[in-house]
Symmetry: D2
Subunit: 398 residues, 4 copies
């Protein structure tokens, strides 16, 4: 039971963002340390040094390695001996800051785990991709829903041909927390998400439709060709979309639909994926993540569950499970699965072993660029009366 | 407990279609007679006289009033004394015959209950509308899902303003029975549905997307403005669409989505409606028809059930319920609710009372024309790269 | 498509009970006439002649055959020519009147469909059994839940050995409509059910636990040996139990549990059956009656649905289905299935063909006696500190 | 954001058990360190020193504090300076060893977190209680299901009187993993659980029915009076029960049912609790832990969800939640909630503050003694033909 073989030691983590009031910062901390494979040792939790210091104890980070800016962190850590400095940097800041932080970290040689969306716009994303390709770092993007075992099972079953040719995907991501508030009274989480300067060209579509789009891509491997999109802003005074639907044509003839809402009263985090193939269909809901419903004409409906050791799971899905069937694993565990796959590659890099950069288990910079293209083309389409916009990205994973 | 007040007698029903192997013919018979308010007394169950005679006993129709064609039926019944002849004619034949049968019946002065879609194309539909408007008959269209109590509850709650302004509808109608068959080997039900000469310009979209479109219209009252549609034919060799999605812009700014499939393996009859309003959201599934999920931000999720006598139901929904909560009512009962509302108007007409013709409880000829416009514009849009097509019909109900 | 072969005619039905305000009377009328195999032609809807006359029109029964008492009905019908008189009598009256009505009907040679429980007590039940055995009539008892297709599927799968040896059954029947009312203010339905003189020795246990017990018996065929029971009366002032649980030892070693409540707030008609066998387990809920969940270790969970024509249904289950999968059939349809099986035997008797009397598709007088024994032994056990009471009935079906 | 105020430091954890192949050992490690409030610094992971050393790296424990026995651990840690030695010891070993380890740890002054059941038998449990009462340590028992936020919400709502007087509880705990195996071929987890010398007098009832019993006690506070129990062993050759049901009479008149199975094919970890009160009823299922269904007569069904910040949660439930609604928290998070409450008391003790010992948020030694009494009386009842056995424990929490 070596840790991060062949390294046989815990990895050292740095975090940018995650200051007081942050939702996703603590998620990174919990998920990364979940199975004791890493320890957070450094952080720039806020661009306000005082607030950064306040946050440090809850992450267990020592004051000596609590920084007041990401620049200071990168500088400070780079000066430490190789055996002490961080192995990777996680970025949990608002969208508009991802680019500069990630670029600097990669250029300093640090592996990066970056929140989605990758950057503020596609131009930044393509520039970052170039930076990553010119480096040898591990670069992951936290489309965390790919970490769910049953999503990985769906992917592996499709890859094995169990559903035949893919005809259609239907993906809905429905929330309601922005249903009736203007941004003024809704606190930190809402504030930057609905500000174009910080969030990017899209609101709901940048925040959650990208997850939905990417999930369909990850599970089916189908390559998109073009998109037609309708964005709506239903809450008066809001600057960005809070609802929308996109129709996607895939290169092999499949038809995809992505609908996202943050204004549907009372809906929580209802990401749902349906895939139709010529040999079967599947359905998965993030709010019941341990189940995957599989149907084939002429057979009873089948519910596959996360149930390691029973013989019903595919290899990666099984390896992504900890507890026996019926012991619910949830959001943190999926996030930890993403981190674990990243750690495998970080250990490979650290030990000089080769590692895959495009078709990785975890979402990466290529997925990130594709996601930014999706956002931009959706916005462009919506502004052109839902005209078709190209959505083919040459370097995309299959 | 008078029957069909003020008539105080059972109504007399005639049926065209419903011969051996028919699915929907027997449904009409069961639903219409459900609560003993009518008796089927005449039928032209097939255009083959021998087959028509074979079917008669299972409907309890006497040989003397079993006809070999709809013309013979209308002729024969018209000759009978008023106190014996049928009160209404139900039409359960393939789409391409609806027009001529319905037109003739209306012109002969008979009330009509017609299967959807109304006709083979929009031109026919508009001609039929004119015929109906020039008559004084009761004319109903069997968009039977409007008969479900919880659909009626949703409509009444929305009409009462409980959901505020409607922002969005999402309606999916997913089946799988045409997933892997070509028409040759799939028997009667599939055969005419996939033949353009009998089904009309659309396959799945004519067969079931019209239900979905109409259901959203019925529940919300929102008036459509334009539609963009993508139709697909996934099964090789099929002549008509078996999958598609339509985006609908409503006049007041709402956005609607209708997706329909008949090729999703193992899915049964999964018609699902979601409505977002500024004050709440709702969700209903035809496969669990006795439940209506209502959500409002800051409150627990609420499940309204068909539960007469408990104080939670709206008036029409309560009146459309028979059994106490938890005693499942299903497809037949909803269909019977539609018939019961038609019977109320037939009795009104027969007794010289006025009755509503446009905003009826049951779907009617106006809904039928609108449905045909929906089909034609969806096909036209799909053939024009999903261009926007007008979908505003001046005489539509609100 | 002959009707009731070989008779080739509709059957003639008489009804006792079902007057104004009755729940179950109209259910009998709708279910029996569901598929046009019979017509109600006579009724004694109330022991109050005026109320009996009031009810007649809603059943479509002519005034000339509307009687003021069951005695008058039996007398009047017996005097009619064989080709006019009723073929069978349905009994939908309070429990304490079942015995005398059923006995008189059987002795007059009429087939009988009797509401459950069979009689007021076991002594009456055994006397009635003797009467039936000395006759040649068809006698059915409306444990209507046995009419659900998926219950019949469960039974057939168990009979075919697909679940191996039966180890355990768990059956809950949970309602809430008597949660907070005393009998005075709850109207007709509650009044007689909570009056020992009319309901019998048990309240909730006589009303619904008998259904649960019988359902387990019907599905598994396991023969009971003894019972230990705890009854409770939670609503102050109530005379009979409104809650209870019984543990049942079966002769082959299986253990059964039956729990029933009518005081669980908000629960509707939640009859749930679970069966454990050595090769698999199953679960069925009356509120989702078209599904049967089957599980086997090492396999995905399977949901069998009512889906005729797809190859997944057992013969009797398939024959008990009308509509394609996903078109919900409910309470009435199950009740109609029970009637249809009775009609088959009535037609056999009328045409001189032999018919099974004990192991019938529908519950019968033997099941009724066993049910009365269950009630009496549960009450006796409960009064003796839950002591074990014998529950083996020699003539029980297997 | 101080850590473990007023201590302002991470706590130091020791673990006994959790060696290679252990399920529950890693759960303790993950749950305890979940939010960085403690670090595991010492362990005796196996009584085989070599295996103990193998396990250490996966817990992040240094070789210098990896011990070959619990005695060595207690001895070694006691010799360390107060500022280095462990703050508490978690015990994750088979049942028969709990007593000696816990007793020694308490006597050495260490706080203890012990797996359930508390000991091998009631005599040991009472002896351990005396030891704990004579000490000043914090002592917790890992009935981990009490850590779920919605269980805590149920408890707080009942304590606030929202359900009125409690009439009944129904608790099922159904698994299937022992359905078809004899102990020989089922590996470590099954082996000791089915060996009376290691598991105690009961198999399934000791392993999981105790959870179910305790959960009802925790949520309702109702005090038991007596129990009647039926245990079964369905798998041939097994020495202990693998199925059973217990009926419990509570002192205030409520009736409880606990049914547990480990032989129900395909069922996973289906712990379900229903509570009936005079003002409402509730239902919760461990496999959908983020939901609590609440019903009141005359109102729509309500589903409360784990949804911090929305105003629908009770205080402790809200404080036990991390993520927004719809982001599933599961088994680990509930386990971590239990640990967090223990840490609060450990910090209080360490800083000399008073802390509650009986009515704690987490299950404790009093609950443990009551659980052992439950097991022993169930076994005794089952051996006496389900006779009633007293189940009142004077020191039980309310």
């Amino acid at each position: 039971m070596a840790l991060n073989p062949p390294l046989n030691r815990k990895l050292r983590m740095g975090l940018v963002g995650g200051g007081p009031g942050s939702l996703i910062g603590p998620v990174h901390g919990i998920a990364a340390e979940f199975e004791h494979r890493c320890t957070m040792v450094a952080g720039a939790f806020s661009s306000n040094p005082e607030r950064s210091r306040q946050a440090a104890p809850s992450y267990g980070v020592d004051e000596s390695r609590t920084y007041g800016s990401y620049e200071a962190l990168l500088d400070g850590e780079s000066r430490l001996p190789e055996g002490e400095r961080i192995d990777f940097l996680s970025i949990a800041t608002p969208n508009h800051t991802h680019f500069e932080i990630a670029k600097a970290a990669v250029e300093a040689g640090f592996n990066v785990v970056c929140d989605k969306p990758l950057t503020l716009d596609l131009a930044e994303a393509e520039a970052l991709l170039e930076t990553v390709e010119n480096s040898d770092v591990v670069f992951a993007l936290t489309h965390n829903y790919t970490g769910y075992p049953m999503i990985r099972q769906a992917r592996e079953m499709i890859q094995a041909g169990e559903f035949g040719k893919i005809n259609a995907t239907r993906c809905q991501y429905i929330q309601g927390w922005l249903a009736d508030t203007s941004e003024d009274d809704n606190g930190t989480l809402a504030a930057w998400r609905t500000d174009p300067a910080k969030s990017g060209a899209a609101g709901t579509f940048g925040d959650i439709a990208t997850h939905a789009f990417q999930l369909g891509r990850y599970v089916t491997g189908a390559l998109p060709e073009s998109v037609s999109c309708h964005l709506k802003t239903f809450v008066p005074g809001r600057q960005l979309d809070d609802y929308g639907t996109a129709v996607i044509r895939y290169q092999e003839g499949a038809l995809g639909i992505v609908t996202a809402s943050q204004v549907t009263h009372g809906r929580e985090n209802d990401l749902e994926l349906e895939v139709d193939g010529t040999l079967g269909s599947l359905k998965w809901r993030q709010e019941s993540p341990n189940e995957l419903v599989v149907r084939r004409k002429g057979q009873p409906h089948q519910i596959y569950t996360r149930s390691p050791g029973t013989g019903t799971m595919t290899p990666l899905a099984e390896a992504s499970s900890r507890l026996p069937a019926g012991h619910p694993e949830g959001f943190y565990e999926a996030f930890a699965n993403l981190y674990n796959a990243v750690f495998d590659d970080i250990a490979r890099r650290a030990s000089g072993s080769p590692f895959e950069r495009r078709d990785t288990v975890y979402p990466n910079v290529y997925d990130g660029v594709e996601g930014m293209m999706f956002i931009e083309q959706c916005v462009a389409s919506s502004e052109s009366d839902a005209a078709w916009m190209p959505l083919s990205y040459p370097a995309a994973r299959q």
